[in-house]
Symmetry: C3
Subunit: 207 residues, 3 copies
């Protein structure tokens, strides 16, 4: 199951995103099945949308139930431990940053292996990285983090772009994954710490 | 069209869920096309997501327009009769409980027939039972019933588990469907009457 | 790329809907990647859902990146020009009306070419016309225009019905498209100007 770095990162991303889903459930004071539902849709949501768009059906987790079992396991653990972190919203944002970057490079790698235009592979990376969190926030009734003031989508984009560009220069897959992840995470982390944001649209006098 | 119990329950579930969609439309004072839209997405939403994930495309209702026509018919009837029930929100919750349990066993039965891991068949039952209502509540601007205080996802889960377990003991399909439905509905009904809920995540002093 | 009227209208609808997505981003004061995300999901959202339901996978824009590039281009232009229109919400509603009618006839045409029941072809037109805007409004945190007081879904329905009926009388594709578009847009435009609405569900004394 863990033959190479790509798979290690994939499972790590799953655990991290499932954790953010469970933390959202804890902020909504849900029961354990609510935890399981939110952990699962967050963990597998981005990859599911990516695979539907690519026509890779039936979906990966229908063929291998391990993915769902990991999400449910994470939900059970968090149900009893979510009170430990000092600030669940900060933890959620940081784990989300890790999952975002991991899934962005992982999704781009998967798409690139399908003989697809590199631009589309990058978009698939962004979708894999961001849509799990979007579904989590809509179901959990929170303001979607994708609309947050800080740099978000662009971190996923950077991770996917770095990966695809490095691959086009024949850099090894492991190095491309690692550097893409680091680039995306570094940008998102900096944004979280210093509240970095890109120039935003400024309404002028007229509305 | 109605060869056996499974199909009778399936159409009954469709009518019941379409009715809850139309009731949500009435609570939003929509016009008749809003009724038709909400009745349709609620009636076929769960099964549509299930079939996309399983790769059963084109979707069942593309091949047989009867499903959509039933939903539209329900919407038209409700547009003129939604004022009759004493409390539309209570009626909605009770019909939703019936649809939830019916679609949970029906979805599990369909998935189990596809040579799929039983755990995934259970999840497909839960998806079929719950996602129509989730879409209804998001489109209708209501707090998703899936986030309600009372037992909800777990009722769908119980219905699907009972069905799959009984099937694994070679109980007949009809009995498995009936007992699964009764188990899920009984739990959800009890939760509605006595406001039963599972232990919820309790925030400790830190937030 | 632009062999006939159907394709011209399709690309025009894409630009128009992408613009409404970018305008929603401007109302949320997003950064340029937020503009790109909302422009893209609005521009291709309806067609994507239609193609998933029909099983036309991988999705059209995976095979031809031009669609995404157009949406991103529109987002970039709007990021610097969104302040020019006197009222962005009015412009958004009018462009949405154009896109709604264009995509409704275009979606119905595509579905009708697949040897599908005409009723389903009409529904596919409605889905293509309305779901991009629904996703835009949910992601952008705005009240879905589909729930607006004025005639909306029915305009898309009328456009698709006119197209399908004219086609069944062997009217040429171009004329059917043009007349379907005009019918849908005229109704929606009238509704916008005079706040036309269909009779809405009226709650009686009981609730």
């Amino acid at each position: 199951m863990l033959e190479n770095l790509a798979q290690v990162l994939d499972w790590f991303g799953l655990v991290v995103f499932a954790t953010t889903g469970a933390l959202t459930a804890s902020r909504n004071q849900m029961d354990i099945f609510g935890f399981a539902l939110l952990a699962t849709v967050t963990g597998i949501g981005g990859g599911t949308i990516r695979d539907v768009l690519l026509g890779r059906l039936p979906i990966f987790w229908v063929q291998d139930p391990t993915y769902l079992m990991v999400c449910v396991g994470v939900a059970c653990i968090l149900f009893f431990t979510a009170h430990i972190p000092q600030s669940r919203i900060r933890l959620l944002l940081w784990l989300d940053a890790i999952g975002l970057s991991l899934f962005a490079v992982g999704g781009a790698k998967l798409a690139l292996g399908l003989d697809i235009h590199p631009f589309i592979a990058i978009i698939m990376g962004v979708i894999t990285g961001t849509f799990g969190g979007i579904i989590r926030d809509i179901l959990g009734g929170e303001k979607p983090v994708v609309l947050s003031q800080e740099i978000y989508v662009s971190a996923a984009l950077l991770a996917a772009v770095v990966f695809v560009v490095l691959q086009s220069f024949n850099v090894s897959a492991d190095w491309s994954l690692a550097l893409g992840f680091i680039a995306g995470f570094a940008v998102r982390a900096t944004a979280l710490v210093w509240h970095w944001s890109l120039p935003r649209y400024q309404p002028r006098s007229r509305s």
